[in-house]
Amino acid sequence: MIVRTNITKKVARLTITVATCAIAVGYAAAFMRGGTPSWAPWLLAFGIPGALGGIMVLGAARERGGVGALALPFAFVIVTLTVGFCLALGLPSNEGANSTLWLGLPLRAAIVVYGIGLLPVVVLPVAYALTFRTQTLTAEDVERVRQMGRLRVAQAEAEGSRSSNEEAGSL
């Protein structure tokens, strides 16, 4: 038997692998003699959204067809996390008594708390619910699985009775 390939899942797996390698290099760099180089956190800033986005796509993609309408929310979340991490790393650290506050927090803190912590909450679970029937599960899917389960039980019972008959015959 040959393992079937699904291009969406293949890309997702590749993304997870590359992102995990980037994270591994980021950690390995921390062991360098001069201390953690300044580029190491950037590898995590790109690697983490890649790994999380990749595994979400891997889970959501059905074997026949990709992620359908979910492509947009996935892209949104990956971009939100990446941009959030990169802004937190890249913007100047100028928090002080006179900082402008955004919803009660200095800019970089607001990006982290509201951008990374709250924006995905508004998008992802709603996208999951709205695409549930087309992308995740239908009553027909559940019935197919139940039928498969019943078939499996029937086969196991048939095999059980066959083997007990054979045992009786051999006795």
Partner: protein, 507 residues
């Protein structure tokens, strides 16, 4: 996000002050009365091993969601977490920020497939799913062993945390606190199994959410709004409100990675997918759970930041230790009744975590390990109840007698579950090319690397550079091992999947 190990550490260090006053004791007694009432009701409905371990696959959406929030959050969000924010600033938020993606990620990656595996095969445990996916008793046994090792630490730290909280409320002493809390939890775990656990979690989760929301509103009100609180902090300690706080960017991003990706391997959350009555109800599960978590985590953020501001402007005395943030706020600023409610919430969090881990541990001992050795317990319900008692007593004894070692045991629980289960379970259930060899090697890698690095680090054989943790290294290594070995042994991939499992993976 949820690290019961961290809870234990938090509560260990906090050594909560005694608040044994009539109002507090009254709330505590009322809390335990409700727990006992729910447990008696649940015990009458527990008749089979399936009832005991997965509530007969019959829990409704709202009950399962609240119970799942309750199990996920645990006492760390109430004590250790706010203390960590107080100590290191906003960087500690990166432990809970992954909650914005983890619930829906878990739904896409695991919920549907695990629930359908439960439908097709009547599976009950996380190792069951791994065993079914790879047609491998060895993989089921090895993952069960990893879970059991992780549970020892979780259970002991939570038992100790429970003792600390009960001692604070009733003033009975730490030893009696441990045994009193464990006895109540044990009673409902043995009698009603996970069914009692779920409905107690519903009550406990509601209590936590109410307590968290009230504290959040109270702090914003007393502090003059978030803007005023921020201004107070920025005048003296601007680094506190920098995105990484006083930690390094690598350390903070590492929190996010381990707590986000690691959430897919936490058995106390993942095995709840089996329990949902109707698989189609999964539609609203991530939304409800995420909203519930956001509500419960309001306290985590508001207490950490609020106490920092109150200490800065002199409304509260400086803390003797960071973990005193919540207790000190409750005793100095909030009304006593609200304090009692929050302390009951902490007790609720630790008890729900203990119950969940007892149940998972008992399932490993009576179900997964016997299957791995080709045997099956004749009466899994009776054996499950027996194992529950043994595990609970063992955890209480470790909590009482192992000294500082209990903190060490608690540290690696989250990381161990993540590194041993995420590749084989979360990736494996979604990739037909994953192989039995890949799964076995990744589980073994996670187990060995986590245990050896945590042990070496604890005994100071070496020190990790800032930002690198054993959990993160083990998770990365087990993921890469899983992909590499599966690729090397890819010719055997298709043969290791049963038709019904393949159908579920294709959906």
């Amino acid at each position: 996000m949820t690290s019961s190990g961290l809870i234990g550490l938090g509560l260990l260090q906090a050594a909560l002050p005694r608040i044994a006053q009539p109002q507090v004791i009254a709330v505590g007694v009322a809390y335990f009365t409700v727990i006992i009432g729910i447990s008696i009701w649940a015990s009458r409905r527990t008749k089979t091993a399936s009832d005991f371990f997965v509530a007969g696959h019959g829990i409704g959406l709202v009950a399962l969601t609240v119970a799942s929030v309750s199990t996920s959050v645990s006492g760390f969000a109430f004590i250790g977490g706010p203390g960590l924010i107080y100590a290191v600033g906003l960087g500690a938020m990166f432990i809970v920020l992954p909650a914005s993606v983890t619930n829906v990620m878990g739904a896409w990656v695991l919920a549907k497939r695990m629930r359908l595996l439960g439908e097709a095969r009547g599976l009950m445990t996380v190792p069951d799913a791994i065993g079914a996916r790879y047609r491998s008793r060895a993989a089921q046994g090895l993952s069960g062993l990893a879970i059991l090792v992780g549970i020892v630490g979780y259970m002991a730290t939570n038992a100790l945390a429970m003792g600390v909280v009960i001692n604070a409320i009733f003033g009975v002493g730490l030893g009696w606190g441990i045994w009193l809390g464990m006895s109540v939890t044990l009673a409902y775990s043995v009698a009603g199994g996970i069914l009692a656990g779920i409905y107690n979690d519903v009550f406990q989760g509601t209590l936590m959410a109410v307590a968290s929301l009230l504290v959040f509103i109270f702090i914003l009100d007393v502090g003059g709004g978030l803007g005023h609180i921020s201004r107070t902090i920025l005048t003296t300690d601007p680094k506190f409100l920098a995105p990484w706080g006083k930690l390094t960017p690598l350390a903070v991003l590492s929190f996010f990675f381990v707590f986000a990706m690691g959430s897919l391997g936490q058995p106390q959350g993942v095995h709840k997918y089996y329990m949902l009555k109707d698989p189609l109800q999964l539609k609203w599960y991530p939304l409800l759970k995420t909203l519930g978590l956001v509500l419960v985590l309001l306290l985590y953020f508001s207490v950490g930041v609020g106490v920092k501001a109150f200490v800065t402007d002199g409304r509260m005395p400086p803390l003797s230790a960071p973990d005193q943030a919540t207790p000190s706020l409750l005793l100095n600023i909030t009304p006593l009744l609200l304090a009692a409610l929050v302390f009951s919430g902490v007790a609720a969090a630790t008890m729900s975590a203990v119950n969940s881990f007892i149940n998972i541990g008992a399932a490993v001992v009576t179900h997964d390990l016997p299957i791995a050795f080709g045997r099956r317990a004749r009466n899994e319900l009776a054996w499950g109840r027996g194992a529950t008692v043994v595990i609970a007593i063992l955890a209480a004894l470790i909590a009482q007698h192992s000294g500082s070692m209990v903190a060490f045991l608690g540290i690696f629980g989250w990381g161990l579950f993540a590194s041993t289960l995420v590749p084989a379970l979360a990736v494996g259930l979604n990739w037909e090319g994953a192989t039995r060899a890949g799964a076995l090697t990744s589980i073994a890698t996670g187990l060995v690397v986590t245990l050896s690095l945590e042990t070496a680090s604890y005994f100071k054989v070496f020190t990790f550079p800032a930002g690198v943790t054993a959990s993160a290294v083990a998770l990365v290594l087990s993921l890469l091992t899983f992909f590499a070995i599966s690729w090397i042994t890819r010719s055997s991939a298709a043969a290791s999947i049963d038709p019904d499992v393949r159908l579920i993976m294709d959906m």
